[in-house]
């Protein structure tokens, strides 16, 4: 019975490593042969209601404004970006870009088209796939989850007040998760025997559900059938997810220490809540649980996420703050807070070693809003960061004229992220200035 420790077989060793391994080690645990350094990732982030824009000659231009003064490498960043400026050479400010079809839209619809660029001005039927899902088709194949869709509001809410940034190939909204504990369970929670058994049966169950539905489908009128199709394509998608889950069954989920994660917070404490949501995304990337994530920090709708500023002591809803036309102090403080949260996330990605560089070098982060000044749907405020190993180059403020479609940038992003694309939504070209 005596056995020296080096006689332990490989399986036992792996098992025990799975339990004790610290996070930075995880890069040796990938499924495929692909080295960690070759991973490509995408993050899409959104905040609500636009940014403060004092006039260029105003005294508080650099104190309260969003957009940098000056273009190119020598721009001056306003105070609200202080926390991200240590990373100056890893970020780019973009101004001027927008989605042409939606330039005349009324307010509060930003999340519906921010990542899709679709023309939904008159009817929602024209909604199309979002850029994250577009690239996920290339980037999402080797991970446990194809993508991870988060928002503070959760679900999809309703057309023109979306609470998700992500839309599938048919232009249907994909519900966002918003409960940190549940997100954690899905990504890192132990798989129970019941779940294993469920997985083993799911294929047969889905076959049966789809088969049975055929008969029903033939007895439905046009309107009914549209809703039925939604149900059926969702079942088919679960079928695909099941195949993936079966492939992943043998791979233990990464062991993640929850000590520094407060999973029980909710949106009534915005700072703690946004922190844990960003942390979960960083963990998802770090453990290679997914390579595509979107996060809508707030919905352009009443509700608890609209009360973020009051929870921070700013005494107003974020919607009301965004209408301020003179005294930009409070709205600037609020946007500064959101910027800090985003900057922490970017810095966290940059602090995690991966291959020769950092995780950020392999991750392109696209962050911004679909309106600029008081709900005007042009000149989106955007920060692009990371992705050095994907061919992106930073350090400048790039100002585009108001007629350039934002989707041109999406074309560039898609091509750099292994999803060859000639045209996305209403793009007219691509944008090469962000590339090295």
């Amino acid at each position: 019975m005596k056995q020296k420790s080096w006689h332990l077989d490989r399986r036992t060793l792996l098992k025990s490593m799975g339990v004790t391994m610290a996070l930075p080690w995880l890069e040796c645990m990938t499924l495929g042969a692909e080295p960690a350094a070759a991973r490509k990732r995408f993050f899409g982030g959104f905040f609500a209601y636009g940014v403060p824009m004092p006039a260029d000659d105003a005294d508080d231009r650099l104190e309260n404004g969003w957009f940098p003064v000056g273009t190119g490498k020598d721009y001056v960043a306003p105070a609200m970006h202080k926390s991200i400026m240590p990373m100056r050479d890893k970020i780019t400010f973009l101004s001027g870009l927008s989605h042409p079809s939606m330039r005349t839209t009324s307010a509060h619809k930003g999340a519906d088209y921010f990542l899709t660029g679709a023309d939904i001005l008159k009817t929602y039927d024209k909604q199309t796939i979002s850029i994250d899902q577009h690239v996920a088709q290339a980037l999402g194949q080797d991970t446990r989850f194809q993508s991870m869709i988060l928002s503070s509001f959760g679900g999809v809410n309703r057309p023109y007040r979306s609470s998700t940034l992500s839309f599938d190939r048919a232009g249907r909204p994909i519900p966002a998760l918003n409960n940190p504990a549940e997100i954690f369970r899905r990504m890192f929670g132990a798989t129970t025997a019941t779940e294993r058994n469920a997985l083993a049966n799911r294929g047969s169950i889905i076959d049966e559900i789809l088969g049975e539905a055929k008969d029903l489908n033939r007895r439905l009128g046009v309107n009914d059938r549209r809703k039925m199709d939604e149900y059926l394509s969702s079942v088919r998608e679960v079928e695909k997810l099941t195949e993936r889950a079966v492939q992943w069954q043998g791979t233990p989920k990464p062991k993640v220490d929850t000590k520094n994660l407060d999973l029980n917070v909710n949106v009534t404490s915005p700072k703690e809540y946004l922190t844990v949501m960003y942390d979960l995304m960083a963990l998802a990337f770090q453990t290679d649980t997914t390579r595509v994530a979107t996060f809508q920090t707030a919905c352009e709708e009443g509700g608890l996420t609209d009360r973020f500023p009051s929870a921070l002591g700013l005494g107003n809803s974020s919607h009301k703050l965004s209408h301020e036309k003179k005294n930009y102090g409070d709205v600037a403080k609020y946007i500064t807070f959101l910027n800090d949260m985003h900057a922490n996330f970017i810095q966290k990605l940059d602090s995690i070693q991966e291959g020769d560089g950092t995780l950020l070098d392999n991750t392109l982060c696209f962050y911004g809003c679909a309106t600029s000044k008081t709900h005007r749907a042009i000149n989106y405020p955007i920060i692009l960061s990371g992705g050095k190993n994907l061919g992106f180059q930073h350090g400048a403020h790039l100002n585009y004229s108001d007629d350039i479609p934002l989707s041109n940038l999406f074309v560039t992003i898609a091509n750099q992220l292994s999803r060859p694309t000639k045209k996305f939504a209403d793009s007219t070209a691509d944008i090469t200035e962000v590339l090295s």
Binding site: G155, N157, P175, T194, N201, D224, S234, V235, K325
Partner: protein, 859 residues
Amino acid sequence: MNGYVYIGLMLIGFLPQAFGQEVNLFEKKIRPFLTQYCVGCHGPEKQKAKLRLDTLDADLLNGNEVDMWQEVLDLINVSEMPPKDAKLQPTAQDRQAAVALLAAEFRKALEARRSSGGRNVLRRLTAYEYNNTLRDLLHLDLKFATDLPPEGLAKEGFKNNSTVLGTSALHIEYFERIARGALGRVLLAPKNKPPVYAVRIDPERAFGKPGEHSANNNKRNRNRGNGVSYNLQPMVDGKPQQKGLFRMEFGELLPDGTGVLLAGNRPKDPVNTPFADDRKIGGAQGDGRSGFQPEFRAEIYEIPHDAPVRVRIRAAAIPGKGNTWPRLSFELGSFRGNGVSDQKEAANVEISSAEMETYEFVVHGANFPFQSNKPSRPSYFRIFNDFRRGTSELTYAELPKLAIDWVEIESNHFPEWPTRQKRAILFDSPNRKNESLYVREVLHRFMARAYRRPVAKHEVERKAVLFERLRPTQQSFEHSMVSTLTAVLCSSHFLLVAEPATQQLVEGEPVQKRKLNPYELASRLSYFLWSSMPDDRLFELAGQGQLQDPEVLTEQVRRMLKDPKAKGFSTHFTSQWLDLAGIRRLAVNPEYFVFQEKTKDLFEEESIRFLHHVLEQNLSIDNFIHSDFVVLNHKLAKHYRIPGISGGFQVRPLGREHHRGGFLTQAGMLFGNSTGSETHPIRRGMWVLERMLDDPPPPPPPNVPDLEEPEAQDEEGLSLKERLVAHTNVQSCRDCHSKIDPWGVAFENYNALGQWREDGQDLNVKPAHQKVLVDPATKLRDGTQFRQLDDLKHYILTKKKDQFRRAVVRKALAYALGRYLDFRDRPAVDSICNTLEKNDDSFQTLLEQVVLSEPFLTK
């Protein structure tokens, strides 16, 4: 221009008289208006701003220029066009007439765009309907749906509208997970009955009976008022478990020493300060009631928490002054560390027997925060007399009291094993030994209930084949059954309310309108009135083909409304119609108010119970606007400062001097449409127009900001109304806001929390904000003057009665159908309104008429 006014025409193919009149109106009012004031600059000769109005595609439904028309409307509306320097300016009256007509057309186009052709469309069960359906299908009352993505809201506020009920892969994933979990819980229970965990409490022992040890002298008990305690000994199968603790605060020993007495207030609580806040003494932190009143609790460890818990209480009532009776209330909860606890009320009932009787309750531990988060922290059971003094002046001696002899708590309470739930699915049958036959029997019975209709043989066969395919891979018959029934619960027939045709349809041919079959009708009924599946009686009537008989139908509606499940209607219809979610969206500003977050529950409950009372008593819908009674409890009485109210929720007649009655004076509406510190007349006005009169004002034009929220009372001492007037002096806002604001200004006597205030001072608010100028007098655009809210209520109930009645009917019908209404529903709405008018506008009649209406009975 023609297409523009023919929106109705394109849809239905002929021109109803009403629409014909609008054509005339258009020709008379709008065309001349445009020709006179606009076409000069935006016509054949000049096209300023590249806009030509005479050739603009005027089809608001399918045309390509809808947004441009919206802009035209907005610019005329806010008086930016014609420009100030134009020679020809329309009179204000002409301008308003043109704008009103255009806006009405926009609304009609919107209705047409979102219309489903006046027909019901297949829809998924909402999360709460799904939850209730599983509850009734499995006879298991648990919170199943907590992980489902939050449901969206249709424009009218309803969650059951087909257009907002999407089904995503994430939904399917959770439906499967939830179904498997629930079925596993029922079918995979161990063979042997789990041992019962039991603890008996003899409260008098805390006072140290002669010869018995009392833990009264330990350190914990010092400086704790009347606190007494002793050790509890829980048992499992005759084996003692880890010791627990009994703890009582402010209870009395019964004179004969056989039990204890609990009152709703502590002996020393002051009597003559009815509106003062309760002062908390001792007790755990958090939102619980502990520390405010006499109570006792059992702190226990390692009690099975995810199991049925039976509580038996031997108690008697000692009535108080004025024929008042105690209320027995208990909670299950646990300690979470740092003196913080979490708990939820499990029962709250009046005890009206002066004799000792045994009261028995069975609740499921999983529905409560019963599991402590660390083994060293106890779960607990806490008991109160919830008859509180409230705003009455009952002395301690006059309060009704609860005499408690003993209490028994038993977890893993399964009166039968295998459980009733398991035997309902795997019932006894002569074919039980023949697996192939038995499987089909089991499936047949389960599927007919899950699909809410008889199932065909081939449908059962499919599932039986699935069962047989899975069986070799599964460890037991039950495991295979869990997987097979999971497929049933993920089926479109279970998750969707479908109402398909009986025959295969020919592609492209329109589906003829038809009467619902009896089972479809049973489902519509039950989801309308219970938010859940039909019960056996409805299935039976459907099976006998009797349900479509109007008399039977009416009788069923009455029966269903008497069932406790009708609370499903009161809860969901009330909170969606009145937007009670607004209560949760808002935070109360602590600079203004001392406020306990838990009071928000009461705000919701007040409106829901109020509607339920109107329904139960078949009262007139007029009560929604004004009632001479209120539904409240001691705590809300304190909140509203109504004297003389003690005890639990009750219906109380109330004089006019208290300024209460109807939804319009309830905190749910008043707080939900405030800013959390100040009133918000615009939101309150919008609420009245949208929810009570079904007359939502058009959305604000783009690029015109919302009106600023009113600032705190400013130094110049302008009243809120004056400040509103100052805002509405901005030309671009005035036209719309003169339609909205007066409706909200009339509520100025009610502060942000809905408490009454008069000019000068609001004592409900913290001192720094007490000085207020309250001026509820206002004038509608038609010249009607309101001195205060009573005038507004009177105006609605007299001058706007038809509109109000129609609004309630439309809301109830839209909720019953799960879709937007359109012009095709107008005859049904008219007919319900007529019947209602002849029947005292009683609410139950309204619901009956909705059920008997053509849209409800057809697909």
